[in-house]
């Protein structure tokens, strides 16, 4: 049976809200990733990595600046919420709420959060929403160096059986569940994929993310809840905490936070 005009209108509204939500969380995470990277411009472990942190901060803030005007077109009545100077309803990873506690946090964000964002931009390169498609292609040109930086430092910190390796592992574990949930709830109903905004569902994006980060996690023998499958893919060895997932803030509630009325 063909969809009625009412159900089509509801579907269009839902897709529009999902699109605005997607742009908001991409922009906010880029903005705060840039700010957190910038805090390490003069205090990274080496002069070279300090300069790289500055360059990556510039890139991330530039990506955010390119995305907020798109958000403004999607939220015509909420100009204040589409400007990072006046915005208050941030949608960002918990890890970006405050300063990184140390260099391992920087690398965990670089390796996991930045890569998760890139996975979504890759899925948006042929988006039906052209303002996102064009920006995604530009963003990805600059993100290759970010990946190399994160990958190189994960390899470096994991190499030694030292406090550095333990600290890296703790930082990776602290954000692992949230970054995997961040691609969106599991299941076939995915308005962004259905509308062609992204070329993959949340589950497919999660699989692409695992395919990107899991090989290094495995070769570095970092004890994370992911394992290779017999068919050459990757699977999580522990289920994700969907009972704590908050679709309004697009992040995990703190453990125990949802138990109190």
């Amino acid at each position: 049976m063909p969809a009625s005009p009412t159900s089509r209108a509801k579907g269009a509204t839902r897709a529009s809200e999902s699109l605005a939500g997607l742009i908001a969380r991409l922009a906010d995470n880029k903005y705060f990733l840039g700010r957190r990277y910038a805090e390490w411009c003069s205090s990274a472990p080496t002069l070279e990595s300090s300069v790289a942190a500055a360059a990556m901060a510039q890139d991330e803030l530039g990506h955010a600046r390119a995305l907020y005007p798109v958000l403004k077109t999607l939220l015509p009545g909420s100009a204040l919420e589409a400007d990072p100077e006046t915005r208050s309803a941030w949608v960002r990873f918990s890890m970006l709420d405050r300063d990184f506690a140390g260099w391992p946090d920087f690398i965990a964000a670089n390796f996991l959060l930045d890569t998760a964002l890139s996975i979504v931009f890759e899925a948006a390169q042929t988006s039906t929403f052209e303002p996102l498609a064009g920006r995604s292609r530009k963003v990805l040109q600059e993100e290759r160096n970010h990946w190399l930086h994160g990958e190189g430092w994960v390899r470096r910190l994991a190499r030694d059986d030292t406090a550095a390796r333990a600290a890296l592992l703790a930082s990776l574990r602290a954000t692992w569940d949230e970054v995997l949930c961040w691609f969106g709830p599991a299941g076939k109903s995915d308005p962004l994929a259905a509308e062609g905004v992204l070329d993959a569902t949340a589950d497919e994006l999660r699989a692409r993310f695992l395919a990107r980060v899991a090989p290094l996690i495995t070769t570095a023998k970092l004890a994370m809840p992911v394992a290779a499958t017999a068919r050459g893919g990757w699977r999580l060895t522990r289920s994700l905490p969907w009972d704590r997932w908050d679709t309004a803030t697009w992040r995990l509630r703190e453990e125990g936070a949802g138990d109190v009325e």
Partner: protein, 83 residues
Amino acid sequence: MNYRDEPESDTPAASTTAARIQPDRIWLVLARRGYDEPLKQVGTIEADDPDLASVYARSIYDEFAWVEMVIVPRETMVTVIAS
């Protein structure tokens, strides 16, 4: 755990930690601005692997729109005439 090299670097423990994550290779960075020019050394960087070294070379020596940039591990140089 904090790997910032300040201000904790005054303590022996912090110095040891910082030393552990210092890179162990030096790379020469060579670049040229035009195809009619030879590659010339523009500086050096310290990094453990070629991927990180490439990232660092790009971000540090970005003062010109180079047409070519290469990095070479310093230990591969062979002295022909010693100074």
